[in-house]
Symmetry: C2
């Protein structure tokens, strides 16, 4: 009998080629389903149907339904942090916050399906380290302030929180109205943020 099911903890052993393929296929299908019809549509039956196999087959490759969506979630998050991380590291410290906002909005606006998945995952998968959301940007703001030789101004946590929420709203609007200029909105946000952070 089974493979993944019997080894719930140890996911790190080599994967057969066909399994590798199926897994990525299932992940992609799941991302598409959630993006198009919302989180609730991501039932085992629909995932299986969309992939052309049966429910049980899906559960052979993943330990549970939650594992499938968690994998999909992880995939899009990885892509996001890789992209934004690279952009931030390529920028000088005093411009890192701007780079962060710019790339974050850009990345999500370019990938509506990823954006939807992330939004949905926020609410359903509850709270896996909520501070992970604002801590990185808060750190960037702190550094940028030092790079510019400024005294500590307003609470970085609040600044980062506000900015994160604003990014969500901009991306969300872009999702609903494809004609909305998310790039311009991001620049407005950056101006507001820099004015508040660097006086």
């Amino acid at each position: 009998m089974a493979a993944r099911r019997t080894t719930p903890g140890a996911e790190d052993r080599p994967l057969s080629f066909i399994e590798q393929t199926r897994r990525t296929q299932l992940i992609e299908v799941t991302i598409r389903l959630v993006a198009e019809h919302g989180y609730a549509a991501a039932s085992l039956a629909r995932i299986a149907q969309a992939a052309g196999i049966t429910k049980g087959a899906v559960l052979y490759h993943f330990a549970s339904k939650d594992a499938v969506v968690a994998a999909a979630h992880a995939r899009v998050l990885d892509a996001l942090v890789a992209d934004v991380g690279a952009a931030v590291e390529a920028a000088p410290a005093d411009q890192a916050p701007a780079a962060y906002v710019r790339r974050m909005v850009g990345h999500l606006a370019e990938r509506p399906d990823h954006a939807r998945l992330i939004v949905e995952a926020m609410l359903h998968h509850g709270r896996p380290a909520p501070e992970a959301r604002w801590k990185p940007l808060a750190a960037l703001l702190q550094n940028a302030r030092e790079a510019r030789g400024l005294d500590p101004g307003p609470d970085p946590r609040t600044l980062a929180l506000i900015t994160g929420g604003a990014i969500d709203a901009i991306v969300g609007e872009r999702l609903r109205d494809a004609a909305y200029d998310a790039g311009a909105a991001a620049e407005s946000l950056i101006e507001m943020l820099e004015a508040a952070a660097f006086g």
Copy 2:
């Protein structure tokens, strides 16, 4: 036989006293359930159990499960717009945006259960007129600008959108960390907003 079930469109005929009572009881129970255990916990069985009656009894008073949560949603939204609306009307035009932000954050911070329900409803009940979210604040910003005799600055829609998202983030953080000072955060946000809007 039944009452509500057979008259899906016409909800406006007089309600018996006992029905009135049950309805409000069920709405309150639903708000509590969603607030404490998330949207998924609001099943007919749990609502019924929490109210001390059976599932069928709930469906006597409401046409469907969705109708129950929609009613709960409507109740908290009404409370919100009444409160914020009053605060805005009591303020002079050039300070209306600040009043809006202040009361919005205040209202939601004071009612964590309402806040959670609204957040959850956003995602699940999909998109019922998404512009309803930013239009009111955008109008206030426009008016305030005229009251101060300023030229049209940055796009009010974007400004309103950013502010709305920031409010969500502040309230959300307050929900997770009761020690977080949402009032102070609101003042920071107001400063940023006024700087951007009124230069």
